[in-house]
Symmetry: C2
Subunit: 254 residues, 2 copies
DNA sequence: CGCCCCCCGTGATGTGGGTCACACCGCTGC
DNA sequence: GCAGCGGTGTGACCCACATCACGGGGGGCG
């Protein structure tokens, strides 16, 4: 795994309000934050009045690409919903090597753990692209959750999903070799995209950080996959051509 | 990692009621299951009437050491609380290699994921010792949770804890070498025991499965730790002698 | 008592994949 | 255009660990 100390060069934080360069990064039909919240799975069960109340409590902040949204071990007193852009949750070793625990896109949220168990933040969160986030303060979040059992239930579902993913990842790290882990990652990404074409840019370096491998090894393995006719790469995007091939590679003995 | 196909030789399931060999494995002061439930963190916030209701809905089952309590990918419709013994949640590769995701002792519970998100079981669960489990059926569990927001909140806290542990484990697998992972495991175990003496038997094989390494490598690393004066082993138990030494080993570059 | 299972220790050997070092390509911006 | 940068390909080298193959001990049970 390649060390890059990008993190060290960054100023934490972000700017209030929208980033100036972009007048309105959202389509007109979800111009208000209440409309946006209504599309977020976590809040889907709420009625209009409730989402409006949430929206009222939320502040919006912009974070340029590469900026650190929160630091591991800091006390946590805010909850975030991604309104635009993508962010990554990462663990960083003293020598700079990095693991990506997860990538969160529009409509996903983070920061709830520290609000639930009052422990410090469990990872760094960094903007992978220019991002807009909705921020709720601890007390507001908690009160709203307590008054909406449906939200608590949705939270339970989300945490369950993440726990399964995390356990899966542990299994992959121990039981699969690097090509196997890549194959699994690609299959997951395709599933999530709902199509064999993975649109979001996934650089070799990012994949490496996601599966705990080095960039070079990822490069070599992906080349193999292309030559085997399992995937095709078309300028920054990846297309899964032979799902079965990848799947077989996923079961192969480590 | 050593493959042992113990699992394949086992009959699933377990016997109803107490295991015959043991007349009463519980101290007199918590003879009833309601009394026991009152000591379980998840239910601590409930009043006597509520725990009694839970207790009434629970069936008790005994599982001999090595038996499989539930299988990965099965549909799940029950929730379990460990009343006696220890169980492990494991992932098993086709070739028999195994990872232990977690070990659960008295008062801990499992099986809630499948009830929350209606997905199949995410891992096998196997009895590491003769065990007694309380079993609640899906509907009973769900109804009780819905009517007790405090239980839902306690569940959120528990899932948060597990998610942190899982992410920690991912970090350790990627960023630490084998001795580093062992050092971390020992520190965690000592913290959990609340004393430098780790009472529960942790065989090298079990440690290996917990950290994704081979038994032999664990053996060699532990030997080093003893020689460095960081730990002492006294027939099946481990004593942490030099916490700082282990901690330093935990931060060392992979 | 003696057998059998588990558990533990240790050497020899092989290899997946990390690390280092460089070269190439396509953008973006001056 | 050229510089600079982020992403990708690829060879050489090396080392942490898995694997294989033993031998030895302790303790439960017939």
């Amino acid at each position: 795994m390649q060390a890059d100390n990008r993190l060290a060069r960054l100023t934490p934080g972000g700017a209030d309000g929208y980033v100036p360069a972009v007048r309105s990064p959202f389509p007109a039909f979800m111009a208000t934050t209440a409309d946006f919240l209504a599309t977020v799975p976590l809040f889907r069960s709420l009625d209009g009045a409730e989402t409006a109340r949430f929206a009222q409590l939320a502040r919006e902040k912009g974070y340029p690409k590469g900026s650190v949204i929160l630091f591991e071990d800091d006390p946590g007193d805010a909850f975030f919903v991604v309104r635009a852009g993508r962010v990554k949750a990462v663990l960083i070793a003293p020598d700079g090597r990095e693991v990506i625990l997860g990538i969160l896109g529009v409509g996903e949220h983070f920061g709830e753990l520290a609000l639930i168990d009052d422990q410090p933040r469990s990872a760094h969160v960094v903007a992978m692209e220019d991002a807009q986030l909705l921020v709720l303060r601890r007390e507001d979040f908690r009160r709203r959750v307590e008054e909406n059992p449906a939200v608590a239930w949705a939270l339970l579902q989300e945490l369950s999903r993440r726990l399964r993913r995390a356990d899966d990842k542990i299994g992959a790290l121990v039981l699969l070799d690097v090509p196997g882990r890549i194959a699994r990652l690609l299959l997951d990404a395709a599933d999530e995209a709902g199509s064999p074409l993975i649109e979001k840019p996934l650089t070799h370096q990012t994949i490496a950080h996601l599966i705990g491998a080095s960039r070079e090894t990822v490069s070599r393995a992906m080349r193999e996959f292309v030559q085997s006719g399992w995937i095709a790469t078309e300028r920054r995007r990846i297309r899964v051509v032979d799902r079965d091939g990848l799947e077989r590679r996923t079961q192969a003995r480590a």
